[in-house]
Amino acid sequence: MTTAAANIGIGLWTMQSTAVAPANPSSLYRSFADAAVLVEELGFHSIWTAEHHAWYDGWCPALIEAQAFAAARTTRLRFGNAMLLLPQHDPLRLARSVATLDRLSGGRVDLGAGLGHRDSEFDLVGLRRDRRGRLMEHALETLEAVWRGERGDEPVADGRLPRIFIGGMAPAAIARAARLGHPLMLPPSLTPEQLREIAAQYREQAAEPAQVACMRDVWVEPDRRRATEFADKLSRHYREEAGSWWVIKGDTGFRQPEQLDRQLRRASQSAMIGGAEDVAAGLNELVDAGANFLVLRLNFDFVSPEELAAGLLRLTEDVVPLLDASLGGSS
């Protein structure tokens, strides 16, 4: 199994034990490491994690530690975050954690930096959410200083920072990534039209544009009934999070069911669930619109390790060969 999917990463590990899909907390970390071994074997570029804090389901709040656990069992696979909520961390402490992971893994770190959106997470550690942009800039500068050895540690690698995928689609995020020469990581709900526009803006603003990456929820399922079942589960997955957290027009999701439905429809329409040819066509459309790196999310709380392995095999054997050559496929 040596399909080269050089510009495709697989997501998204969050280590949640939810009401819908309860799991032993330690087994979630072992499953993540097992999945990393499989994703590496299948030839993908990277595996991706996402953080949140102080939620009922154990959602992983410390991604670098989780990634070190899986990096120790792999040799080539890279580790990315989509996203690590950079402004919520102590930047010096995080920089040292990342430097440690970078050394232990032999330089296999691709950071991903998002702003974070839950007020309560900023409030946990005494930070103001409305200062998150400034906190992000400061954190990026601190990372660079630690990398160059300016904070008392040894310089990391040749002193050049690893790639930091800047998350979000707001003009400020695009400008930040363009200015710093970092790649962009665009959210899964983006339409190809929106993607085209943002990719063009980024490439216009950046002196040396890096990757334009796009996340997508993907499940290869030729059987229509089973595809619908998966879509329903996916929708329930997002409803829990959106209903509890998302602030839509000043209030939270569950308190305004109609607004919530509208937002969720948008999210579920962007998921690619179906036969291999349809999924490949959808992904190639993103490439055509300007994405040159994809993070495909197959892993959710409701997907068992066995289902995930089967889904990854179908993706590798049936979809990857149909993808645009720029992603590492063969057509």
């Binding site: 907390p25 709040p61 656990f69 069992r73 430097a99 409030d123």
Partner: protein
């Protein structure tokens, strides 16, 4: 008495794994990791080691007070869960943070309980309830994930002895600590707690080359302050002697006459078994 191997400053995953495997095959209880210039975040090293070597307890030396302790609590919880409950957290006060050390310990202990909490210290408030944060802000919060250990093993170190002992925590003494003073502190803690206090002590690398002297040092620690763990600095190559020559000699109050001579004649430093 339990033994943790302190491999000294490491730079690669291969060295880390070698130390862990050496400790495991020598029958030691775990390893002791601290920050090094190349690997400045020992909790990250601990997570990697947990994936490579089974069973071992992994002690991590950290400084408290130079960052929000909630970050430390979250990272420690993740490492404890990923490792299946094998973490020992050994915390000393960071430079210029002695005055907030006790509060930081209390915040860790509070956060490690699996229930919503509100912490209002002089330095840290969790949640902070800042007026600028308005949506979904809670009055009490839960650290998640909860550590796997019902009570995460937490030891004080350095100048934090009184803080640690008063809270019923373990305490890691330095190898040059005054034995009789440690003994006084230990007995005072046990009498005010009304319960046994856990203490550990470092033994220096130099002593490993001389197992007899190390045995004498550890017996003296046991006598003076109830030393129950030994953190021994040794290279991977010196680990076998720790397991074969030192460890058996300090488990019992005294050994039957003739047993030590028998061991001297029959026990070699060759490897008996290795990790799977």
């Amino acid at each position: 008495m339990r033994f943790l191997l302190d491999p000294g400053p490491l730079t690669t995953l291969a060295e880390l794994t070698e130390a862990g495997e050496a400790a495991h095959s020598a029958g030691l209880d775990g390893v002791f990791l601290s920050a090094s210039p190349a690997l400045p975040a020992p909790l990250v090293s601990a997570a990697a080691l947990a994936a490579r070597v089974p069973d071992l307890r992994i002690a991590v030396a950290l400084e408290l007070g130079d960052t929000h302790p909630y970050h430390v609590a979250e990272e420690a919880a993740v490492v404890d869960v990923a490792s299946g409950g094998r973490l020992i957290l050994v915390v000393a006060a960071a430079r210029d943070a002695e005055d907030v050390y006790g509060e930081a310990l209390d915040l860790l202990l509070t956060a490690f309980t699996p229930r919503p909490f509100r912490f209002e210290g002089a330095t840290w408030k969790v949640p902070a309830n800042l007026p600028e944060n308005v949506h979904n802000v809670e009055r009490k919060v839960r650290l998640t994930p909860a550590p796997t250990q019902p009570r995460l093993e937490l030891w004080g170190a350095g100048a934090g002895r009184e803080h640690a002992l008063r809270r019923g925590l373990g305490y890691l003494a330095d190898s040059d600590a005054d034995l009789s003073e440690l003994g006084d502190a230990w007995r005072a803690a046990e009498s005010s707690l009304g319960a046994p206090a856990l203490t550990a002590a470092r033994a220096r690398h130099a002593a490993v080359g001389d197992p007899e002297r190390l045995v004498a040092t550890l017996r003296a620690g046991r006598e003076a302050f109830g030393q129950s763990w030994a953190v021994v600095r040794a290279p991977a190559s010196g680990t076998r002697a720790l397991g074969a020559r030192v460890r058996p000699r300090v488990q019992l109050e005294s050994l039957p006459e003739g047993l030590e001579r028998f061991w001297d004649e029959t026990v070699t430093n060759s490897t008996r078994r290795t990790t799977g």
